[in-house]
């Protein structure tokens, strides 16, 4: 059957089987960042955005994305690089296999909650398994990223303030 959807900002039409899963479809379409780590919806490696919400692409029938919007890490390269650099600075990417799913879900978290607390980070990302890092380096990376983001925002504000004063 034929479905039409928006993949990473581009409208696409694909011929699919009714029982095809979204993970297999997006990988077939070249989105190799999407990984499969289990068959039981437990690992979070296959996380993509479906209409802006993070979901497990291993558990979504491809046909269900007809008319909707799917985003993979391939469509978020700038954000991935910006945030991922902080993970890289900790060496916490390690084998990298869980990274795309983890980074997708972290980006989803930042969209829902710009400056989450440690507890909120842990809870939101609990469904992203990682066997290499012990999660601690990922947490350090996230906190460093949030710090950077906060500083960037604060740097902007005083500049605006100064301008006002000048006026």
């Amino acid at each position: 059957m034929q479905i039409t959807f928006v993949l990473n900002g581009r409208k696409v039409s694909e011929e699919i089987e009714p029982d095809m899963l979204l993970i297999d479809l997006v990988r077939r379409m070249g989105c190799y960042s999407v990984k499969r780590g289990c068959e039981t919806s437990n690992c979070g490696l296959c996380t993509v955005f479906l209409d802006e919400k993070p979901v497990l692409s291993c558990s979504v029938l491809a046909v269900r994305v007809d008319g909707r919007t799917v985003t993979t890490l391939e469509g978020l390269q700038e954000e991935a690089e910006e945030f991922g650099a902080f993970i890289a600075d900790q060496g916490a990417e390690q084998c990298g296999f869980c990274n795309p799913g983890f980074i997708m879900n972290a980006l989803a978290l930042f969209r829902e909650n710009e400056f989450p607390s440690e507890e909120e980070i842990k809870e939101y990302l609990a469904g992203n398994l990682c066997r290499c890092s012990g999660y601690e380096g990922q947490l350090r990376g996230i906190l460093a990223f949030l710090d950077w983001k906060k500083n960037k925002q604060q740097e902007k504000k005083p500049v605006q303030g100064e301008e006002k004063r000048k006026k």
Partner: protein, 263 residues
């Protein structure tokens, strides 16, 4: 992995019901449990197009469409306020956000899974389910009897003046529960206690206002007494996550803690 021969996004409940009368056909919710099976589905019936993904808060009740996700439940301010966080607590341990963005209330309830936190939570509230053909049925009846090949349309939670709390014990934070326990203390002092993951499906146990009054007259430790009553009556079994004996013990502990908190 399961196979699906055809997929249909139905345009009406009638169409869904008709399709669902054929044995190999299945209504699909979040697909999370269904896809792990090895069954062969004829037509996958998708209710996504019927607007059942809304939580409507009315003066006296919540109407929760079958396609509402567990994440929607978790984030709903009205439910959060009404249940004093119990609904959020009941779902936040389920695997992860991405999982809960898919799993549906309808799927969780209709499946009547033993491990279901959601079923346990709703059982403790004054809940009914609306079935397309069967009409409105108390959740407790539905949980016991199921609904055959009918279609679950929505879950209705009637507001009452009750205090709620939800607890579960898990071997790891996002694992299936070893035991779930949702407790409601009614205005009249009676308790409605749902215990799930026994590991069989959740059951509802009631503690009447008279029972509570009697205990209070005797100056007895209410929490302890109710806990002992549940412990004695609850039927538990063993699986990978815990033995029948441990579950019975946990039922006692969780009920005591719940009553201590709510009384």
């Amino acid at each position: 992995m399961m196979t699906i021969r055809e997929y249909r996004r139905v345009e009406s409940l009638e169409e869904a019901w008709e399709l669902n009368q054929k044995k190999p056909n299945r209504v699909i919710g979040g697909m999370l449990w269904l896809k792990m099976g090895h069954g062969r589905v004829g037509t996958a019936i998708d209710l996504s197009g019927l607007g059942l993904n809304q939580i409507e808060e009315k003066e006296d009740r919540f109407e929760i469409g079958a396609m509402v996700t567990l994440r929607d439940l978790e984030l709903h301010a009205g439910l959060e306020a009404y249940t004093d966080g119990a609904v959020r607590e009941s779902v936040r341990h389920i695997v992860g956000v991405q999982f809960r963005n898919l799993a549906t209330v309808g799927g969780s309830i209709f499946g009547r899974f033993g491990f279901s936190d959601v079923l346990t939570m709703f059982l403790a509230m004054k809940t009914e389910v609306e079935l397309y053909k069967g009409g409105i049925v108390p959740l407790e009846t539905f949980a016991r009897e199921g609904a055959g090949r009918d279609i679950l349309v929505k879950v209705i939670v009637h507001k009452e003046n009750a205090d709620l709390c939800y607890q579960s014990v898990r071997n790891t934070k996002t694992d299936f529960p070893v035991l779930t326990c949702a407790t409601a203390r009614e205005e009249d002092g009676s308790y409605r206690i749902a215990i799930g993951a026994r590991p069989a499906r959740a059951v509802l146990m009631s503690v009447s206002a008279q029972f509570v009054e009697e205990l209070q007259k005797q100056n007895a430790d209410l929490a302890q007494a109710i806990s002992e009553k549940v412990r004695a009556e609850i039927v538990t079994d063993s699986n990978l996550r815990g033995s029948a004996q441990y579950r019975r013990h946990l039922a006692g502990v969780l009920v005591r803690r719940a009553v201590e908190r709510l009384e």
